[in-house]
Symmetry: C2
Subunit: 178 residues, 2 copies
């Protein structure tokens, strides 16, 4: 099967865990040489910038792999969900916010050389406040309300450790001030 | 071993490919329940925003997993390299640019739930022009010079598909106009 200047001769799942699968594809590369391309299939992600007045809500949490960091509310697109449904579910679980005006900021590939997944991004304005219902494994999750200039500074200082969250904070702060 | 509110009881490599390893850790989660945390170890990444006057250099390439997209020059940190050495090597390979004034924009985690890796970011000004030496598998790589406003628009339109590249374009464009 051709994929642009690449050709996939064979594609097989070499290993799977509950969260992702490892593919090992036999390929012909753009320079005509034969080889293997190993990659990861897993679920798409969502991140949401929800504004409350001139503030944005961030979540602070200890991440098993990288330690404590800030990111925007979000998570995995579960089986059977669209990205938008997942974003609404995650936003309400983590912050209690729901409804409001949703503006898509598209999608970005977190690791385009390693996985075809995307992180889907939204800006939400005028959301309704409610009660957060974090999953029990997220019991150390803390919601932090920051002014947009403070969130922008946190992104520049890498206190927002997640790449898609930082990109969306930069995009929203730049877009609203433009 | 404690990791914040998590505890790692056991950590083992369950599967490896030439590019990454799959770990399956036995953990105790923040809510006290026992479980498994499966994750990926692979090389850190680098992305560089090199300015030529008021333009920034992007590379357009067909990605095996996500198709044709723009991103900033960069790639993997190879064994034995620091992130900065990798960034200088990738920038010169892909664009021919070298030297100049390097400003660190820190690092972002592309998929903090799945891998502990970081993408390290730099702004480079006043670099010296030279001859690009792309690897033969990157023979379809094309360098594109864009004004900062055009690059910003490409980031908003998701034409810059790589999350870390988009974040750095937003950060640099916002930082220079501030």
């Amino acid at each position: 099967m051709p994929r642009g200047p690449w050709t996939t001769t064979q594609s097989r799942i070499a290993y799977s865990t509950p969260r992702f699968s490892v593919y090992e594809d036999e390929v012909t590369r753009p320079d005509g040489t034969a080889g293997e391309y190993d990659w990861i299939q897993t679920s798409d992600q969502v991140r949401v910038a929800v504004l409350t007045g001139d503030h944005v809500l961030l979540v602070e949490q200890y991440h098993y792999l990288i330690g404590r960091t800030l990111q925007l509310p979000g998570g995995n697109v579960e089986d059977g969900e669209t990205a938008e449904i997942a974003a609404k579910r995650e936003l309400e679980q983590e912050t209690g916010r729901r409804d409001g005006r949703w503006t898509s900021y598209g999608r970005l590939a977190p690791l385009p050389g390693l996985s075809p997944i995307y992180t889907h991004l939204w800006l939400v304005q005028d959301a309704v406040a409610g009660t957060a219902k974090p999953e029990s494994v997220e019991r150390d999750l803390r919601v932090v309300s920051m002014s947009l200039p403070d969130a922008l500074r946190a992104a520049y200082d890498n206190k927002i450790g997640c790449a898609a969250s930082a990109a969306l904070v930069f995009a929203v702060a730049g877009g609203l001030s433009a």
